[in-house]
Symmetry: C2
Subunit: 452 residues, 2 copies
Amino acid sequence: MAQGETNLEPKEQFEILNNNHLGIRGVDLVDLCDKYGTPLFVIDEARLRENYRTFYDAFSKHYPKTIVCYSIKTNYNLAICKMLRQEGAYVAAASGLDLYVARKAGFPPKRVILDGLYKSEAELMEALKSNVLLINIESFSELEGLNRIAEKIGVTQDIGIRVNVTKTQVFTRKLSEAIFCYPASRFGFSLETAWLAFKRASKLKNLRVTGIMTHPYQGAADILLPYIKRIQNELGIKIQYINFGGGFAKNPTLNNFDLMMDFFRKKLGLRSKLDKRKKESVTRVCLERTSKIIAKAVKQKLGGTSEPTIIFEPGRAIVGSAGLLLLQVNCIKEAGGYKWVVVDGGTNLIPDYWERREIQIVNRETLLPLETVNLVGPLLYTHDFIAIKKRLPKIQEGDILVILDSGAYTLSQSNQFLHPRPAVVLVDLNGRLVKIREKENYEDVLWMDREV
Amino acid sequence: MAQGETNLEPKEQFEILNNNHLGIRGVDLVDLCDKYGTPLFVIDEARLRENYRTFYDAFSKHYPKTIVCYSIKTNYNLAICKMLRQEGAYVAAASGLDLYVARKAGFPPKRVILDGLYKSEAELMEALKSNVLLINIESFSELEGLNRIAEKIGVTQDIGIRVNVTKTQVFTRKLSEAIFCYPASRFGFSLETAWLAFKRASKLKNLRVTGIMTHPYQGAADILLPYIKRIQNELGIKIQYINFGGGFAKNPTLNNFDLMMDFFRKKLGLRSKLDKRKKESVTRVCLERTSKIIAKAVKQKLGGTSEPTIIFEPGRAIVGSAGLLLLQVNCIKEAGGYKWVVVDGGTNLIPDYWERREIQIVNRETLLPLETVNLVGPLLYTHDFIAIKKRLPKIQEGDILVILDSGAYTLSQSNQFLHPRPAVVLVDLNGRLVKIREKENYEDVLWMDREV
C-alpha cells in the first residue's frame, strides 16, 4: 500500500512453504490464523491492483475512451475502495451508503456514477448536490422525481437511461417466466419504453440525457449500437456515455438439476462432474477479445460522430479473486450417507451457497481429492452450506481451509446471525499484514440495542 | 414494560383509526414512520408476552413439568429477551453470542440450554463455566471434546443427546436426497448411533447424560418415547429431560412448483391460489391439542418412573407475530408483463423471500385486493423480493406498507448490503413508544473498517 503507485513485482500469489503450509505472497496462512483467529477474510493487495489494471488495460488498449467503475456494493471496505481510487478507478454507487463510501474513500464526484432501481429522495439529493458524473434512470417516476429535485436545488444533472436488452433465449425466458416471473425484467426500460424515456428526458430542463446503460454486457452491443444511432438521428440526443454494466467474472454455480444428474451418475457408477465446471476466465486475453469486439462495433456502427466514452462496472472481476476466506474445521461427522465437515463460517459470510469455489487445506501437505464431503457452516439451518458434494483431500478436525474467490458479495452481504463478523486483513505489496477491518465482538453486535 | 408483571388488558392489536390509518394498540402506524422513518421494525409487547403465555399455558396445563425455552437466534434483541425473561421463559442458545445475550438479558445459567451442531471450544468453555442447564450433543467428537474440557476445569455438566427422528415420507426423503443431499440428516445422531452415544456418554466422568433432544417435534413422540424406555431399561440411564425442539409457527411458503402451477392456472383463465395458503395456526386450542397428545403419550409410555421434564424451544411462535416491518413504496413500474412495486427494504431485512406474509397498506382506506404485483426491495439483484405475485389493493408511490409476522429470522439475519439497518420500536403495554434498537447511519456501518 505504501508504494501503491510503483510497479508491482509481487511474489507468486500462492506457494507451498517449507513447513508444507500454504502461503500467500510468502505469508504463512496458518500464521495469519494464529494471529487473527478464524474465520478471517484476507485481501491480496497485489491481486486487487493487478485485477483492476488487467481490466482497464484490456479495454483501454482497443478503446482509449474507457472508464472502469468499481461496483462498490461488491465489497465496500474502505481500504479496498481507496486502493482502487489510487489506481484511477471510477465507482458505481447503488445507494446512499455507497455514495458515502465513495466520498470517504476520496473519489471526486466526477468519478462517481449512481445506479439502481431504488433511489430515495435523500440519495438523489445527495448525488445532485455533489453533481456526480451520471445518474442512471430506471423508471419514469424516477425521471420526473429527479428533475423536480434538481429544479428545486437549481442544478443540472447528466443522466443515463438504463435499457434492458438481456438476450435470453426465448425458451429460457419463457421457462423462467413460467416458474418464476422473469425477475430481471424489472430493471431498466424495455427498448420501446426507453424510447419514450429518452424523448421525455430530452424535454426536462434540469436533466441532460447523455448516457445509455445496460447490464449485463453480453450481447448488448449488437442491440444497443443501432439503437443509439436511431436515438441520435431521430431524437437528436447526443449519447456521450455507453455503459455496459458488469458481469465479467461469475463463479461457477450449481443448481438442483446438476445435483440430480450427479446423483444418478453416482447410481450408475460414473464419476461426479460437479467439480468440472471452470470459473469464467477473466484473463487479459479474454477481456481483450471482448474489448476488441466492442471497440470495433462502436467505431463501425457509430462512426462519423465523435466517439462516445465506454463505461464498465465490474465488481467481481476486480475484488473476487483478491479475497480469501480462512475457516477452521470444528467437527466431522458421518450421517445420512454423507461426511459432514462443520466449519466456523457459513452462509453468514458467503451467502450464495450454490457458488462453486476452489477449497484448499492450508496447514499440511495434501494429496489429490479423495473423498466427497458436504462442507457446512455453524448456523443450524439446513441450507447453511459452504460447498455441496465437494471432492476434497481427506480433512481432519482442526484443519484450516481456504476458500478462494471470496472477495465479492461476501463481507458486503454478511450478517450477524449467531456469530459476530470476522476481521479483514490485507497482505500489502510488501507482504506486510494490515488489519483493514476489526473483528467484531459480542458487544459490537449489540451496541445499537437499547435497554428498556 | 413498566408493568411487565401485571395482567394484560391491551387494546386490539390492529384497528382502523378515525383518519383511516392502520393502528397498532391505538398507535397510528403512519405517525410511527413520521417519527422514526422507514424501514422500521415494530415490536408489539402485548402480543409478545401473550404469545409466550399462550404457549406456556397450553403445554403446562396438561403437563406441569414443562419448560419453554425461547430460541434466542430467532430475534436476539436485548429488550425482547428481557421481556421474555420476566415472563419466566428459559432460553435456547446456539452460539457464544446467544450465551452472551442470555447473560446480558439476565437469564440465570440454570435457565439456559446450549444447542447446535457447531460449538467452538470457547463456547463450550463458557457454557461449562457457568454450568448451564443442559448442553445438547450432536456428534461423538463433541461428546469427547466436552468431557475433556469439563475435566480440565473440574466441572460436571448435564448433557442431552440430540437424535434425528425426522419422520419424512420415504418418497420425499429419497427425492430430497436425489436433488440435494437430504441436508437435515447432518443434525444430531440417527437412532442407531445415538444408542452408542448414550452408552459412551454414560461412561464419561465429567458429563451426566440426563436429556434427549430432537427437532422438529412433529411425530417425534411416537419414536422417541419407546426409545427412551429402552435406554432407561437397557443402559440404566435416567432421562430427566425430553426436548422436543421447535417448529411451531412457520409462515406459509411458496416454491417454484407453486409458481409454475399458478402460471398455468392463469393461462387457463383460472384464479390464482397463491394467497390461499393459511399460516399454520398457533392458537391456544391447537397448541393444547399437541400438548394433550404429548402429555398422554409420556404418561402412558414412561409411566411408573418419575416424570421427566418436557422442554420446547419455540422461536417463531413467540416472536414472529409480535413483529411488523413498515416499508415505504419508492416507485412503481410496469415491465415484462408485471407491475413492480419497489420498496425501501428487501431481502436485507427479510431474507427468506419464499415466505408468504400478510401485507396491508397503512396510510389510507383500502378496498379488496385488486391487482397482482411483485413487491421488490432496493438491492439490485433479481431475487430481492418481499412478495412474489401477491394480490394487493391498488398501491401508490409513497404508500406505507406493513409486513406482518416479521419478528422472526428478520433482524437477526439482516445485513448491511447497500443500506444501514433500521430502528426497532417497541409499542409497550401502555401504548407508549420505546426505541429498543437505534437506526444505523452510514458511519455505523463502516466503524469497524480501518484506514490504511
